[in-house]
């Protein structure tokens, strides 16, 4: 939520700019957006009419780059490097940060080896520096670096832009969660009722026993 608050203004700024610029002048804006150190979300810019109209035109590569940053990873760029324009260092950094977010979506415990492979990092020290300086300090992930087990335990990762088809999964998960919570509440209510009725029965039984004791005492006297 902090990340969203931080980048809300930036998103508005870039969306406004994208709305006013012509298609031919959009590329510098896309470079600026994808290089910005505090911006990790691009679906709003993608959905502006100026940008979405780039599909199938001579500037469609700009759209592809923006889509890469919205949904893709560093590996995706490497496998399409021939087709896509060269990225500037800031864009490379941004893409690697977004790659960490994608990996954190799939697993909570990320082995160092996997991270080093995905991020093209030579050694553990460099990887840890990257995770600490570029990811944790940027506020996009929170977690623990376990040097003994050589893994990164992710406690929190900022959300990336949704891929097509992801919404269905999310809705299903939320429905399941809601159903579980509702069932739990019903169970708790039932247990409360059971506890109350058992307590009433118990009190009644105790009173009956005491009355019986009094009766017997009186009859003895």
């Amino acid at each position: 939520m902090d990340i969203e608050q931080k980048q809300a203004e930036l998103i508005d700024h870039f969306v406004n700019q994208a709305s006013t610029l012509k298609a031919s002048a959009i590329w510098p804006l896309i470079i600026e957006a994808t290089s910005h150190p505090s911006l990790f979300a691009f679906s709003e810019i993608l959905s502006t009419p100026t940008v979405s109209e780039l599909e199938g035109t001579e500037n469609s590569l700009c759209l592809d780059v923006l889509r890469l940053f919205a949904h893709g990873t560093w590996s995706d760029y490497k496998s399409n490097a021939g087709r896509l324009p060269q990225l500037v260092p800031d864009q490379v950094l941004k893409l690697k940060q977004l790659t960490v977010l994608t990996l954190a979506e799939m697993n909570k415990v990320l082995p160092y080896d996997q991270l080093m492979q995905e991020l093209d990092v030579a050694n553990v020290r460099e990887l840890e520096d990257f995770l600490i300086n570029e990811c944790m300090y940027a506020g996009i992930v929170r977690g623990k670096l376990d040097q003994l087990r050589r893994c990164f335990e992710v406690q929190f990762a900022a959300g990336r832009d949704l891929r097509p088809g992801q919404l269905g999964n999310m809705l299903e998960t939320l429905s399941n969660w809601l159903a579980t919570s509702d069932n739990l509440l019903v169970s708790i209510q039932e247990k409360i009722k059971w506890a109350d009725s058992t307590s009433e029965l118990d009190k009644k039984h105790q009173k009956d026993v005491e009355d019986r004791v009094e009766e017997v005492k009186k009859s003895l006297f």
């Binding site: 999964n169 998960t173 399941n176 969660w177 579980t180 739990l184 708790i188």
Partner: protein, 319 residues
């Protein structure tokens, strides 16, 4: 009433009328009635500070002073501050070590515009309940001789965690030799075996006051802001894990009490020769043990319930 009116009314309690307080001090209505003060109102700020201080002491008793005013038969505690002393149950007058600090603090307060005087002292009984020991009673009697009106508050930070609510008691002692007309009716609480004598000998020398709480409109706003943080802390913690030592101590104490009761029951084979009153005392001893064991069990079951509920809510949902 508008929300502004309501907040004005709730904040009015914070106004300090020096003339009225001075007049009250001169009249001394408590000198004719040992039970004059019946109620205590503690501010949210004072309560938080006292509980946090008590909890920070761990298993060591800590103490502090409370500042406030009076309003008829009510002592109002506006604020509290910690004193640099520890282990208050081991010495006759632990406060003596902190006199200089108390005087400095009070003077600085007045200079800063805080006009309230000291209206009481608080200390902690980690894990053994809210009551006054022999040392506490003599300390409070001394305070009530020279510093009236004065209140004694006891907080149990360990039981606060295990019970999930603040364990706190406010007390005032009777004058030396005074016999109260009726036996004070107080809520039952478990007393460990090693403290039971100290508790029993002095329990009739003081009475407890009803405690209520109040907060300012700013306190309300700040507490609302902290609501989420409070829930994160509550959900992240577990009394089963955090209070393990205390529970082990409780169970051990229960076992000792059972042995004690068992040995007394063994002697009662003299049955018919024993006075009926003594038999009744033993039954109530067993009844107390039963109640203590039920309380320990219930707290454990509560802790387990919260763990199970958290597991269902947060661990059973998958993508």
């Amino acid at each position: 009433t508008t929300s502004t009116d309501t907040s004005f009314l709730s904040d009015a309690i914070f106004h300090y009328d020096e003339a009225a307080q001075t007049k009250f001090q001169q009249e001394k209505p408590w000198s004719n009635d040992p039970n004059y003060f019946r109620r205590v109102k503690i501010s949210a700020l004072a309560l938080l500070k006292m509980v946090v201080h008590a909890r920070s002491g761990g298993t060591i008793e800590v103490m502090g002073l409370m500042q406030g005013k009076t309003d008829g038969d009510t002592i109002i505690v506006m604020d509290a501050f910690a004193l640099p002393v520890e282990g208050t149950e081991t010495r006759v007058n632990a406060q003596a070590d902190a006199y200089e600090y108390m005087v400095d603090y009070s003077q600085t307060n007045k200079q800063a515009g805080r006009l309230e005087n000291a209206v009481g002292w608080y200390h902690s009984h980690p894990g053994y309940g809210c009551w006054l020991s022999g040392i506490d009673v003599s300390t409070q009697m001394l305070n009530q001789q020279f510093q009236e009106p004065f209140l004694a508050v006891v907080i149990d930070p360990t039981r606060t965690v295990s019970a999930g609510k603040v364990e706190i008691g406010a007390f005032r002692t009777y004058p030396e030799g005074y016999k109260p007309p009726d036996d004070p009716v107080s809520e039952y609480q478990t007393i460990p075996l090693n403290k039971i004598e100290d508790f029993g000998v002095h329990c009739k020398q003081y009475y407890s006051l009803d405690i209520t709480y109040f907060k300012s409109s700013l306190d309300c706003h700040l507490l609302d802001l902290l609501w989420n943080k409070y829930w994160v802390n509550t959900l992240s913690s577990s009394p089963l894990l955090g209070n393990g030592d205390y529970v082990a101590g409780q169970i051990s104490d229960l076992a000792e009490k059972l042995e004690h009761a068992e040995s007394q029951l063994a002697h009662s084979r003299l049955g018919p020769l024993m006075a009926p009153q003594r038999k009744k005392d033993e039954e109530s001893q067993l009844a107390k043990i039963t109640r203590d064991s039920a309380k320990i069990t219930v707290e454990q079951v509560h802790g387990l319930m919260s763990q199970v509920i958290k597991d269902i809510l947060f661990n059973s949902v998958r993508q």
